[in-house]
Each structure stands twice: as structure tokens, then as C-alpha cells.
């Protein structure tokens, strides 16, 4: 299955900034429905595509028109894989908070925040570069997307 067309690299960076803010708010407030919503956002990006992902839509209609055009393009496959990694952590976090196992919720959300912040601040895609490490521990994820 193709991961979809290459995208403007500023879109994923914008999405990482929004994700960082959302996850920080979740940790500060402990309001898990917001984390559940973020889990759905990750799921759309990972399993349906980047184009219909909510933060991509926000970028396309609100941010991109204010920025100049760019010819730079970034492959979609790494970005979708990163969304899938984010989905797993956000899902575990949501289950933790919702089931009353708050420490689990906090730890899983903190890991997701760490990765999103690295992406937003340093343009470093932790999930993408660590694919081989992840694959070593979780062989089944090898065929993802």
C-alpha cells in the first residue's frame, strides 16, 4: 500500500507543534478525553492518510496560505509511521487515565510528548530513526502501513 504523495515538510512540523501543546495540556489537566481525541488524530494520520488528518487540514487552510510556496517535499511513509508510534502511546495513555491507572497515563503521555517536542523543536523524528530498534523489540510492527 502506498503511503500517499509527498507533502510540504512545514505541515508535519506544524502538526508536531500542535501535538506538543495538546499533550502538555493533557498532562497538566489530566483531562483524558483530550488525549482520546489526540489518539483519533494520530489514528487518522497513520491508518487513513496525512491529507485528511485534522492538523494537516488546519495547516492547509489556515497556515499555508499565509506562508510562501515551497518546492520542498517530504516522503509520507516516515510521517505516517511516526503517527502510528504516537497512536500506540496515546492509546495506552488514554486507557491508563480512563481506567484510573493514572501513572500509566502520565508515563505514556510523557513519552508521546517527548517525541512530539523533539519533532517540533529540532525537526527530529524519533519514531522514524528508531524504526530498526522498534522492529528489534516488536517484530510484528514490521509490516505496518
Amino acid at each position: 500500500m502506498s503511503a500517499g504523495p509527498a507533502v510540504d515538510p512545514r505541515g508535519p512540523r506544524f502538526a508536531a507543534i500542535v501535538t506538543t501543546v495538546v499533550l502538555a495540556v493533557v498532562l497538566v489537566t489530566g483531562w483524558w478525553p483530550l488525549l482520546a481525541a489526540q489518539t483519533v488524530v494520530f489514528a487518522i494520520g497513520a491508518f487513513i492518510g496525512l491529507k485528511p488528518a485534522p492538523y494537516s487540514l488546519l495547516y492547509r487552510y489556515l497556515v499555508a496560505p499565509r506562508l510562501g510556496k515551497t518546492t520542498e517535499r517530504e516522503d509520507a511513509a516516515p510521517l505516517r509511521f511516526a503517527q502510528a508510534v504516537g497512536f500506540v502511546f496515546a492509546l495506552v495513555g488514554t486507557i491508563g487515565y480512563a481506567a484510573g491507572v493514572t501513572p500509566l497515563g502520565i508515563v505514556a503521555t510523557a513519552f508521546a510528548l517527548f517525541a512530539a517536542f523533539l519533532n517540533a523543536a529540532f525537526n527530529f523524528c524519533l519514531g522514524c530513526e528508531m524504526y530498526l530498534l522498534i522492529r528489534r523489540f516488536v517484530p510484528a510492527t514490521g509490516q505496518a502501513s
Binding site: 489530566g30 516522503d75 511513509a77 516516515p78 502520565i106 523543536a121 519514531g127 514490521g142
Partner: protein, 146 residues
């Protein structure tokens, strides 16, 4: 209140990790100790006519691998005795494991007999790569041409 401290802790840890990762990006490291059998896909990728073959380990999910290729491919094209090969190990992670590679991109420089000369983590810097490879290239070539 715990959440506020966790957020602050993660942001500080992320800032330090990001700074370290930036500093280490493109770092040239010594070759890992030999003694293991070179995985077949790597052995097949080596160019017997090139003094040095750069084997770039990539995966489908690696965004900086594309940038790495964009730096190394032209570098090899304009340098006598230097070859660049990209090896996608998405579906053969055992190759990366055999080489002791945990993150992509990692680029390994090999001599024609399969001896590892050095390895580079992250996106390499062209001039630094040339400097590190100079002694291995100079014996067989006249060095970079333009």
C-alpha cells in the same frame, strides 16, 4: 501539580536530547570490531573496483535518509574511487542487526575486501567525510575531481 512537573521534566529532557542529537548528527565514528561475517546484501553491494564503498543503511520510514543520499550520491559521483550504495533494510532488519546498526541513516565505509573503515551516524557532512576517507582514497586515486 504532578502533571506540570512532568511537562517541565519532559521539555528539559527533550531540549538536552535534541541538543545532543544535533551535535552528534553526522559524527564519524571508528569502525566496529571485525570478526563477524559480512551480511550477504552488504557483501554484494561492495564495488570491487572502488577504493571505498559507502553503504548507506536506510528504511522506508526514515526521512533523513533522503537527505543523506542527496549528499553522498553526488559526492561519490565526483570522487574517483568512491562508490555510494543505499541499502533499504526495512524488510531485512537482520542485516542492520548483524552490522550493529540501531538508527537510520547510518553509513558504513568499506574497503573492497569488506573491511569496515568507519561509520557515520545521521546525515553526514560532505567535507568531513572526504577528510576522513582521504587516506583510504589517496592510494588508489587522484582525489576528488572538481
Amino acid at each position: 501539580m504532578v502533571g506540570v512537573w512532568v511537562v517541565l521534566g519532559v521539555l528539559v529532557a527533550g531540549g538536552i536530547a535534541g541538543g545532543l542529537l544535533n551535535a552528534r548528527n553526522g559524527r564519524i565514528r571508528a569502525a566496529k570490531p571485525a570478526g563477524r561475517q559480512l551480511p550477504a546484501p552488504v557483501a554484494e553491494a561492495l564495488d570491487p573496483d572502488a577504493a571505498v564503498t559507502l553503504v548507506q543503511i536506510s528504511t522506508t520510514f526514515c526521512a533523513p535518509c533522503r537527505h543523506t543520499k542527496a549528499i553522498l550520491e553526488p559526492l561519490a559521483a565526483r570522487t574517483d574511487g568512491l562508490e555510494h550504495v543505499e541499502l533499504d533494510v526495512t524488510n531485512q532488519p537482520e542485516v542492520a542487526q548483524a552490522l550493529g546498526v540501531l538508527r537510520t541513516p547510518t553509513t558504513l565505509a568499506f574497503s573492497p575486501d569488506g573491511t569496515e573503515l568507519l561509520r557515520i551516524s545521521g546525515v553526514p557532512k560532505g567535507p568531513a567525510v572526504m577528510e576522513a576517507l582521504q587516506e583510504h582514497l589517496s592510494g588508489a586515486t587522484t582525489g576528488p575531481t572538481s
